[in-house]
């Protein structure tokens, strides 16, 4: 077939396209993923029972700030990465900012505490539950995010996969924070930050397989 014939066919009855579709799909995936993560936390794990105490509220707020900051920056970049050449407009450093902030705060809080408290502050009561729950809760949000990105045309599949995982991990952490009763900054830095990084790595590995077009 000649290329001219293909072009003639493609130029027949051209429909206007929706330029907002990419952003809309990523936004939609984010909302659906968030609802799923929160509902799973509610049903399977349950919301923490001491939520009315000031200390619990402060730490919930802190965890949510970290998770929402992570998701916000990552989602903006993901919407760019979903378009050809979008990787030109992404700085991974900015996406890492919430992690740097929480690590700094964790360091400061460790520095102010006696070293005999460190073990309890870092390991908490349930580090294993946190380590396992965040990646598991992230599975459905990850699938929804991948669905949205597949409707577009990413040209850097490793990086796009990584950001899909980062968004899903962050969304999952928002849900899990409603359940988790381990209230210390080093714990959040390690056992929230760590699993979210794991989700990001998984996304980077899966990206080239899931996102080809």
């Amino acid at each position: 077939m000649k290329t001219d014939e293909l072009i003639t066919a493609l130029s027949m009855n051209v429909e206007p396209v929706n330029r907002r579709l990419v952003d809309r799909n990523v936004g939609l995936a984010l909302a659906v993923g968030m609802v799923v993560a929160i509902v799973i936390t509610f049903i399977v794990l349950g919301v923490r029972t001491d939520l009315t105490t000031p200390r619990a509220m402060i730490f919930l707020f802190l965890k949510l700030t970290f998770a929402i900051g992570t998701v916000g920056a990552a989602a903006v970049y993901l919407a760019r990465l979903a378009r050809p050449a979008g990787e030109r407009r992404v700085s991974p450093g900015l996406a890492a900012l919430p992690f740097v902030a929480i690590l700094l705060l964790a360091g400061i809080s460790l520095g102010q505490a006696p070293s005999s408290h460190w073990d309890k502050m870092v390991m908490g009561n349930d580090w294993l539950e946190c380590l396992i729950s965040i990646p598991i809760i992230a599975i459905v949000p990850f699938a929804v995010v991948i669905w949205a990105v597949r409707k577009a045309a990413p040209t850097n599949l490793v990086r796009t996969g990584a950001f899909s995982g980062l968004v899903a991990g962050g969304v999952s952490a928002i849900g899990y924070a409603l359940h988790c009763t381990d209230d210390s900054l080093p714990f959040v830095a390690l056992w929230y930050g760590g699993p979210i990084v794991l989700c990001t790595l998984a996304g980077a590995i899966l990206g080239p397989r899931l996102l080809r077009w």
């Binding site: 077939m1 000649k2 290329t3 001219d4 014939e5 293909l6 072009i7 003639t8 066919a9 493609l10 130029s11 027949m12 009855n13 051209v14 429909e15 206007p16 396209v17 929706n18 330029r19 579709l21 990419v22 979903a82 378009r83 050809p84 050449a85 030109r88 407009r89 577009a152 045309a153 040209t155 080809r212 077009w213």
Partner: protein, 185 residues
């Protein structure tokens, strides 16, 4: 900003609004740039004009299908280059050729040269269509090959007008996947 960028971007914006003449002109001009680009790349790994033409058509189809992903806030040249390069890398991976043999390129390289000497590609749209599900086949044939309106196509294929549009979109994506399979040597 170069005149090529300005002209092509204006065409793309009109094409996104549904201007068929602008869309046609855009694809024609881009296909000439793509041909020069792919011929230049493939000659280094000992592939000829026919393989280059396959790639030109893959890229033209991709640009058509993905035109909604172009953000008017951004220049068009890097967008076209990213699509062209993505399709090249995909082609090389399918054919187990290493990217290391292909020269590195710059974002403006795609639109730097022009080549209007098109040859035949190795596939045929009508023949490939036969592999698609019936509704996609009917919708694409009616609207894209026979030039019917979406309303007429809806009557011919016995589905709704939005059904025709969805089937064309999905069908073209399926065609792109078929072409990618066939150009595996």
């Amino acid at each position: 900003m170069t005149t090529t960028e300005t002209e092509l971007k204006a065409l793309m914006l009109a094409s996104q609004e549904g201007d068929a003449a602008a869309h046609r002109l855009l694809l024609e001009r881009l296909s000439r740039h793509l041909r020069a680009y792919y011929k230049g790349k493939l000659v280094k790994i000992g592939q000829g004009a026919a393989e280059a033409e396959d790639l030109v058509q893959e890229a033209v189809l991709a640009i058509h299908i993905q035109r909604h992903t172009y953000d008017p806030e951004e220049p068009l040249t890097p967008w076209v280059h990213a699509v062209a390069r993505y399709k090249l890398i995909d082609f090389l991976r399918r054919n187990r050729a290493s990217l290391a043999n292909v020269p590195i390129d710059e974002a403006n390289e795609v639109t730097a040269n022009d080549d209007h000497l098109g040859t035949e590609s190795s596939f045929d749209l009508r023949r490939l269509l036969k592999h698609l599900p019936e509704k996609m086949q009917c919708s694409i044939e009616a609207v894209k090959l026979d030039g019917l309106s979406v309303a007429e196509a809806a009557r011919r294929c016995g589905i709704s007008e939005s059904g025709v549009k969805v089937n064309i979109h999905r069908g073209l994506k399926a065609l792109a996947a078929l072409i990618a399979q066939r150009t595996q040597t």
